[in-house]
Symmetry: C2
Subunit: 456 residues, 2 copies
Amino acid sequence: MKYDVPYKIFLTEEELPKQWHNVRAVMKELPDPFINPATLQPCTADDLRPVFCDDLIAQELNTTDLYIDIPEEIRDFYRMYRPSPVVRAYNLEKALDTPAKIYYKFEGQNTSGSHKLNSAVAQVYYAKKQGLTHLTTETGAGQWGTALAMACAFYNVDLTVFMVKVSAEQKPHRRAVIQTYGGKVIASPSDTTEVGRKILAENPNTGGSLGCAISEAMELALKTDNCRYVLGSVLNHVLLHQTVIGLEAKTALDKYGVEPDIIIGCAGGGSNLGGLISPFMEGKILNQNDIEFIAVEPASCPSLTRGKYAYDFGDTGKTTPLMRMYTLGSGFIPSPNHAGGLRYHGMSPIVSKLYHDGYITARSVEQTKVFDAAIEFAKTEGTLPAPESSHAIKVAIDEALKCKETGEAKNILFGLTGTGYFDMSAYTAYHDGTMTDYIPTDEDLQKGFDSLPQID
Amino acid sequence: MKYDVPYKIFLTEEELPKQWHNVRAVMKELPDPFINPATLQPCTADDLRPVFCDDLIAQELNTTDLYIDIPEEIRDFYRMYRPSPVVRAYNLEKALDTPAKIYYKFEGQNTSGSHKLNSAVAQVYYAKKQGLTHLTTETGAGQWGTALAMACAFYNVDLTVFMVKVSAEQKPHRRAVIQTYGGKVIASPSDTTEVGRKILAENPNTGGSLGCAISEAMELALKTDNCRYVLGSVLNHVLLHQTVIGLEAKTALDKYGVEPDIIIGCAGGGSNLGGLISPFMEGKILNQNDIEFIAVEPASCPSLTRGKYAYDFGDTGKTTPLMRMYTLGSGFIPSPNHAGGLRYHGMSPIVSKLYHDGYITARSVEQTKVFDAAIEFAKTEGTLPAPESSHAIKVAIDEALKCKETGEAKNILFGLTGTGYFDMSAYTAYHDGTMTDYIPTDEDLQKGFDSLPQID
């Protein structure tokens, strides 16, 4: 073979993971339990049952099984677009003139344009199995809503998507994709829910936030027969499903004897990062490797780098269970001039705990720098990346350039979570020079922190 | 293994074709030669040199070598996104309840969203090798323009794209992708060229056509130093490059002992169809198989099914060499209500000759029926298809349903040339019920035929 490794390392469909990886089973300290805000006691499965599907609740609360079987039906759906490739970025390396070896796990080769489909199909499968006929959800950048619409079309389940208003306006075509798969889209905040009307009364001009949209979707789920709410990130079961990313990546790299020195993922709610690092993190926790894990977040929504590790609600309407996580406060709404996803006020409890305990480091990056990196990547590697994924590209390039200075040939792996085909308004703003950076002031952040519940 | 064949048959990068396939070398009768409209003599390489790159001219005129080497640099670029998978449409088969086995060669997994990149990289490589610094082209649906912009960014060659005005207006995001890769986009007809000004003077409200855009791009190439014109379809060398599609498909199917009974491709200029069928057509010409080849075209632009087999210009401005092909006349401009690509007045001379000699059949389909098929495909197979590709899906479904009636388990292969992510306006029109079908009347067609040159 001409190259050390192929440009794209594909596994066969028989090598698709048969089980998800539950890193909580090896964590030395577990994330703190969810708390029922009414009783201030740890949540039980019964507390969660009105909102979530039963099988997903079992996964959510499972802290003991390191591996959890992937049902055959879900693996069959995965066969339509998985295993996804680990790509060696030969051309980016050449352009950077770095001794580093850069790999990326590419999750964008399906119509949702991202990794979100990995959990969407699982969640809809379990909902269907339970006999549900309707699901509700929120979507920010739109990838989750698209993924869920695809899965709902496949399993013939009705879907209502509350789409963050600023995204619905910026991305009418993303909305049209969801509609093509039969999903109903409502711009959030809306006047279709009590919580939406309340948020609009307080802040009529808001562009919305994931936190608002979650509140509306939960309200509709509770009011609708045979319906549950599903979420695309943050929760333990979502991270669990996303471990197919890390499991495939590890198998692919193991085939060629490649051990990553650095693993980088963008982090909004944490599902991609958590899924990518999970099997590698097991090794780190068990002192079998010394990989540097880097979470990259937007400077405009810096939950890890500037947030507090505290119990908080998952939504603006303060209706979810309380989760201990790095958070900017459920009242924090990022500036509408922030282009991509990664707009969530909090961070997955698993990722938060691993960060708190020193297993993960975090960096925040400004969006114009992110788009600089995105365009360098597009021109050398071909693929036009999603703005979210480009946060990871930015730090991968930074690390590769450090290697150029030191002469180290580190193996860098990052998650390329998706493509930017529905983000061209943001690219156009970048080209036109109308894109600006936004870094919240301490006063801005304090407003969010003021919304934190006083329970600690 | 659980299945006869995997969902997706991937080849390794080492199995990438090392040579393109030149079907003219086995055709019993060759397509008629290009004619220089000034001399009415067959075109020589010297006639073509002011407009086209030297190596491409050599390929254009080569009727004797069955295989032509793919340079290593082009194969390295192909490694970034090829080999592309042959997918078994298990879920579509199930939804149709057909005994037929449906396969599709999927060319949409790159940022151009289509097969167009296969020829773009080759053409830019040869231009760079010749020392050119600037290229011009036209684009209709925008896939070719995107593909060429990607290749030009990679090889650092300047690019000006004349984009059919109706597409530029319907698809601002497609334009933004081209700009992201550094391409300059001009809506055609424009006032930047003599021919554009002339067309605008005659028809100020025209939405443009590929034929107009070609005239403008050729004019700019002739007026610009160190510049040539490149075309994304129709020509022999473009079909040659696209044979990577058919070669990979044949290798993949051969691995599993699958012999197609029917091969279906959408046909605008013919590059996808020609590339897909080339190695299978060799077998048919040599009486080694009896595959049914079906070209599918839009009812609104029916060059094969209602056109004339005649010498015609490739462009509205009547500046190209004359080619003998099925044509509606270079003056034919399809209705702007036609959503997708496949808007070209003529058909590749190779495909035209094979059709004329009875090796290929052709069907025309109406666009609302095409979108019915597209949505059935999206919901069952996951991928949201391009409107162009959906012409082939429509006929593949028709053939699979015939098998259901007869009980035959035919192997159907079609080309899924691309994804519809930049075609959501058309999907929205379909959902809204504002999409209409357009079939030109005989009088409409006569206007186009009146523009044919009188040389036969």
